[in-house]
């Protein structure tokens, strides 16, 4: 259904991703979901086929493709009923290193990340005590000669158990001493393989979907000073500069989810016969699906616009945020409609609808919640007073 209106770009990549995903059907994900297990075989297949290195420049061993190619890959993964959240960050967390790291740091890490020998897919920003208010984080990194000593706690650090490196945001100058609210934070590439032997504890958090998320505790964890990315104190800006790419990619995933729900709902509505006719013949069933379709298509256009601006090197903050919000809303609406269309069967594991429903719900909260996007638009686009 509706294949021609969505996803016209990067056809050959989309087709190849679909082919790969076909080997990981619903029952593969259902079994993992039951055990809250990591989709290792799926992630290995994506890694070895080079998809997760799409954005790494060719000189560092990746394919050096534009953001739209990464968006196409992730959209297709979700559209195929798979779940890219297990590894999507391997695609974009390296962006901070690529943009702000020294040449020596890039030479050291990017080729390893591109080949998949090193996994950089843990991103330690959120903390239990500060939440959305990132500049109030309390994890500290204190300089001690040629190293930093990290103490504190992160929460919702996804994939930490399945990552070798963590991109870590920590305070290097106390908030009171920093010139600006956004100063005094620094970014590090923490080698968790070493740190787990020396002060780093990772504890999984069970969530409503299978997401491999964790909380991470730092007890005098050492990071060599050479692992700091960019200048000390400028970390917040470095992190922000990667946000647009992240938002656009998550939006593309939501479009993929929404398309999966719309196909699934339409197929079922055509086939399921109650009171002697297909349920899809009732406007009460078809209108909500049609509406979710319209909203998905509209959100998709915003994703394309954000991609266009991003790839032209223009400012796309507003569009990236709107794309993320509209796409997450669209996938959530489509998920809801899909469950409703399936009636009782929407709740049965083997239909995958309830699993995808749980998975896509996350994106109204993470990596940034809808309210914060609205605050951004109000303040930065509409010129309204800052509300927080």
């Amino acid at each position: 259904m509706n294949g021609s209106s969505f996803g016209d770009d990067h056809q050959e990549i989309r087709e190849a991703v679909r082919r790969l995903c076909a080997d990981f059907p619903g029952d593969y994900w259902q079994a993992l979901d039951r055990d809250r297990a990591y989709p290792t075989a799926f992630v290995d297949a994506l890694t070895h086929s080079g998809y997760l290195a799409a954005l790494i420049p060719e000189e560092y061993g990746g394919s050096g493709l534009p953001l739209s190619a990464a968006a196409a890959i992730l959209e297709e993964v979700q559209f195929a009923g798979c779940n890219g959240s297990a590894c999507h960050a391997q695609m974009y967390v390296m962006g901070t290193l690529l943009r702000h790291g020294s040449e020596a740091q890039k030479q050291r890490w990017l080729p390893e990340i591109a080949s998949g020998r090193l996994r950089l897919q843990a991103f330690g920003v959120t903390e239990p005590g500060s939440g959305t208010d990132t500049t109030s984080i309390r994890t500290t990194a204190k300089r001690d000669g040629e190293r930093y000593i990290v103490n504190g706690q992160k929460i919702w650090t996804s994939r930490a158990e399945h990552s070798d490196l963590m991109l870590l945001l920590a305070r290097t100058t106390p908030k009171e001493e920093a010139a600006k609210r956004t100063d005094g934070l620094s970014v590090f590439l923490l080698d968790m393989r070493e740190a787990r032997e020396a002060g780093l504890t990772i504890r999984p958090i069970r969530t409503m979907m299978n997401h491999a998320t964790t909380e991470v505790f730092f007890d005098n964890v050492e990071v060599p000073a050479e692992n700091r990315i960019g200048e000390e104190g400028k970390g917040f800006r470095y992190i922000l500069s990667g946000m647009n790419a992240e938002r656009i990619l998550i939006a593309a995933e939501c479009i993929g989810d929404a398309r999966w729900f719309l196909d699934k709902a339409s197929d079922y509505a055509r086939e399921r016969s109650v009171f002697g006719k297909p349920i899809g013949q009732n406007q009460g069933i078809q209108f909500p699906i049609a509406k979710a379709f319209a909203n998905t298509r509209a959100a998709d256009l915003m994703v394309l616009e954000a991609l266009r601006l991003y790839e032209a090197g223009a400012d796309c903050g507003a569009e990236a945020n709107m794309a993320k919000m509209l796409a997450a809303d669209a996938s959530n609406e489509a998920a809801n409609v899909c469950i409703q269309t399936h009636g009782g069967f929407g709740f049965a594991e083997e239909f995958d609808v309830e699993r995808k429903f749980r998975e896509t719900r996350l994106y109204q909260v993470a990596p940034i919640s809808t309210n914060l996007i609205l605050s951004y638009l109000a303040e930065h686009v509409l010129g309204l007073p800052r509300s927080y």
């Binding site: 021609s4 050959e12 087709e15 679909r18 082919r19 070895h48 086929s49 394919s63």
Partner: protein, 249 residues
């Protein structure tokens, strides 16, 4: 040895196929398409032959509409060297495709033609056999293992109830069965490289073939919906139902 692999673009094996409301065929508009799984196995085998130094060049050919190029690109991304599209908007039936392929074989002069044993859309399982007859070449169908020694192939075939091993003289047409190999995924770097590999386009006229259908489709319909089952209380009741309700004994 030069290897020609014939591939077909079909409705994706995971898509729920829908019959057109007028019964003239199945819906292909806006439906996900991909390479026929058996053709994929044939491509994989050819690429492995190249990697093992047995094949010198792997050429893929597809007959069909312009968008079959995308399927050719997939084969190129798996490792084939170049592609040929025999472009035709007509409905192509096995005999027409076999004739078109014969034309391509005469131009390309491969020693081996590899293809899928059947396409999962129409399940004809005819094209390979027809091609070998038209060329007057040896054939080995349903291959689950292919080995080359000078001038001939040793092919293990999947047959009812077991395996059969035969020797065929080259040149030959071999069709792939499911267990011949497990096709690789096209990798992203190879997808990008494949964009630069050449694809020649030709028409049925160029090959001097009239591809018009010889068979006409009378009607396509959905298989009957599965009826709910019932539990029987005894053997006697089962026999009674099989006799009088199902009328099978």
């Amino acid at each position: 040895m030069k290897v020609l692999v014939a591939i077909k673009r079909v409705i994706d094996a995971y898509v729920k196929v829908r019959v057109k409301s007028d019964g003239s065929g199945v819906e292909t508009q806006n439906v996900k398409m991909s390479m026929n799984p058996f053709c994929e196995i044939a491509v994989e085998e050819a690429v492995r032959m190249k990697e093992a130094g047995i094949a010198s060049e792997v050429v893929v050919v597809s007959c069909g509409q312009q968008n079959s190029q995308e399927t050719i690109r997939t084969a190129l991304a798996m490792g084939a060297d170049r592609g040929i599209l025999v472009q035709s908007d007509a409905e192509l039936q096995p005999l027409a495709i076999a004739k078109l392929l014969k034309g391509v074989v005469e131009k390309e002069q491969p020693e081996l033609v590899l293809m899928g044993k059947q396409a999962v859309d129409n399940d004809f399982n005819q094209t390979g056999q027809m091609l070998s007859a038209l060329l007057d070449w040896s054939q080995a169908t349903f291959a689950s293992k292919i080995e080359k020694s000078d001038g001939k192939l040793t092919v293990t075939r999947e047959i009812d109830g077991g395996l059969e091993t035969i020797e065929v003289a080259l040149p030959a047409v071999v069709t792939a069965d499911l267990r011949l190999n497990e096709p690789r995924y096209a990798s992203l770097p190879n997808i990008m490289k494949a964009k630069k590999k050449p694809i020649d386009t030709m028409s049925a006229e160029d090959l001097g073939v009239d591809p018009s259908p010889r068979l006409s489709v009378v009607k396509v319909s959905e298989p009957p919906a599965r009826q709910g089952g019932a539990k029987v209380g005894s053997v006697a009741e089962l026999v009674e139902k099989l006799k009088n309700e199902a009328k099978v004994i």
